[in-house]
Symmetry: C2
Subunit: 452 residues, 2 copies
Amino acid sequence: MTEQVPDLQIAIEQIKKSLEEGLHAQAIAHFNELALGDQAEAFNQLEENEQATLLPRLDVGATADLFDRLTDSETLEASENLTLERLADVLEEMQPDEAADLLGDLPPEQASQALEEMEDSEDVLPLLGFPDETAGGRMTTEYIAMRQHTRVEQAIKFLRDVSPDHEVPYYIFVVDREKRLVGVLGLRELVVSDPQAVMEDIMDPDVIYVESGVDQEVAANVLVRHELSAIPVVDEQKRMLGVITHDDILDVLSEEATEDIYRLASVGAIELEPESPVRMHIRGRLPWLYLNTLTALFAAWIISHYEVIIAQVAALAVFQSVVAGMGGNASSQTVAVIVRSLALGKTSPSKVWVVLWRELVVGILQGLAVGLLVALGVWLWRGNPYLGVVVGGALMANLIVAGLAGAIIPMALKSMGQDPALASSVLVTAVTDSLGFLIFLSLAGYFLPHLF
Amino acid sequence: MTEQVPDLQIAIEQIKKSLEEGLHAQAIAHFNELALGDQAEAFNQLEENEQATLLPRLDVGATADLFDRLTDSETLEASENLTLERLADVLEEMQPDEAADLLGDLPPEQASQALEEMEDSEDVLPLLGFPDETAGGRMTTEYIAMRQHTRVEQAIKFLRDVSPDHEVPYYIFVVDREKRLVGVLGLRELVVSDPQAVMEDIMDPDVIYVESGVDQEVAANVLVRHELSAIPVVDEQKRMLGVITHDDILDVLSEEATEDIYRLASVGAIELEPESPVRMHIRGRLPWLYLNTLTALFAAWIISHYEVIIAQVAALAVFQSVVAGMGGNASSQTVAVIVRSLALGKTSPSKVWVVLWRELVVGILQGLAVGLLVALGVWLWRGNPYLGVVVGGALMANLIVAGLAGAIIPMALKSMGQDPALASSVLVTAVTDSLGFLIFLSLAGYFLPHLF
């Protein structure tokens, strides 16, 4: 099914048309024909009322599969179309980790009612205590574990007997009698081993794991670094609690990247999409604009101290924004490199001196490269070499400031346990704006007699 | 091995110490004790001369494993420490996709010499023709394929006989006599099936695949959407060429996110890290700064037309940057949301009208929210209501411009087949700066008599 996008669009049109004509069974049939991954895409492209018509008519298993694929907020929204009884049935069929996420997102009263209504909540209950963004909150309890003395033929018989839709079909985790994790083996080793061999002999005892409390991004980085398909999650006694699979890690990494991109651009809500409701846009963006307003007015206040000389040499107003703006551009380059490298574990606050020294050298060189060119350009344009010196010199100084502030602020935030992406842009822009104007206008004040 | 970072740091110190004392065998022993994923991390933390000492002393297999884990540019750099014969041996042992990437990155003459020197290059050769950033460039040729009439017991015997380090140990791909992909099955189905069953009976014929020429990001999105562990790559006749595994997809997604973050901040080299050599910083950053200089000077040229009125009312110089800067902030919010949503397939240029309408409404509301407050603030601060009207009104207009430009420019780039992240920031900032100054100063010109 390559190039499935056109096919998918056709299927979506068929579903919409069937719904419009009241042919509900036909709409359901079209929907069920889609691959699971496409169902989520198709569902998201339906209007709200279409979703409300379709959803209660899907069978419980299909609804659970769909909910497993939707994002958490989409699942929550979709769940509002189901009765409590139906919701409980769907929760039972969902993957335990996804079900736990949905229960955590529901209003507390509704969540406890749904839990009561569920006939089999033992997979989900142990997951409810873990915060969403930790390894424990990301793991599933659906994995295959065997005791270390189990023979290969017993293991294969067990695999035949248990339901075939486990989320982790490629690893078998080996545990001792206290459920402590002692090894791992791939299904492939199981297939090719002597039926009489025991797990202990064929497993890899150097199993890589994370504790339930670690941040999901840490778990993701461990899985990526060791190129694993799944990573087991344990408690402090190394007892096996669950498994995080690579597709959950993909979600984690994608979310973390979105978060960094949004925060660097001062967007406060990672679930924001271009077509999100207006109130979500306002909620995610306006608070940051207000914060930027404050820093912009602070920079304006700095300029206001130089109104007297601007009134004498209006050309200063022409070039002040070049100095401040270029500082902003240079600093956002540095902030992006630092923030991304911190996220990927490629640098750390302990290296701040090395990084600052590098930024200082880069700042001086780029300052010279840009400053000299602009100085020359301004001299030629305005016919006054001193104005060139003031603009070029201030540019040079502000590019150095930009590199240093762009490195030190995210690193400082990180070492204080804050997200370096969160406030870096605002803080760094405030510095390059304010200092940019200050440097430029005080330099202009110094050369004032030559600027007329 | 949870919390392995402190242990890893200790191991790295031991390696460094052993190298310093000339105890090479001991350094190698420490290095070999590390998990594969940690070896790459440790290697990267060594100084260049330490790497040069260590590398030729590692055995061929260990070097190949290490090269498989390093990024492409790190591998290229490390390979300079090896003789041609040694490099050829290492290339043979590397994963074919990684070996092909390295051969592609080497200087052409050296690459062809290495290929000649290799005894067994048949895994690598077919991969050399595919561009790096396509599905074909990402795939490996190490996968397990079986004919559709193969019986389960034959398949298990085959698995026992072939070397156990295939990259895709959880799927078996089923092909017909023309090597056309006809189905897939998990190792689990193989384990639990009747030994006499044939592949055709137990395989899933609805196999999801991509063609070799599609962009790696498209392949990544297909794998993510369908939550696969690996995705087969085929030619136009649906003949099986290779497989992309989920850890390669993780690399793709991580690279693409880095690329977007860097491009949004006008950083032109995605391999840039805080500690990269100064020349790499300059190469990745300076060209964009020059481009920004041009747009900043263009904005300055616009201001220069209003020098006469600025000379009369210097307060205009105080507030012009607030208007332009806030436009820049608002537009970078919009650009971030649009670019990220385009990358994740959550919106497309076909929705431009819906998105523009949304941005218009958001722009008007945020323009009112910020504009009114700033108007009031300026009035109170400067005691001139007209100045408040000019600043607030221009702010309002520029926030609307910012939302529209921030949406339309990345969408237009995308629909022209360009990367929307690439030039959006520069272009959009140029628009909000220039129009910001223009709107503000011409509004000021209109109200000029009241501004003294």
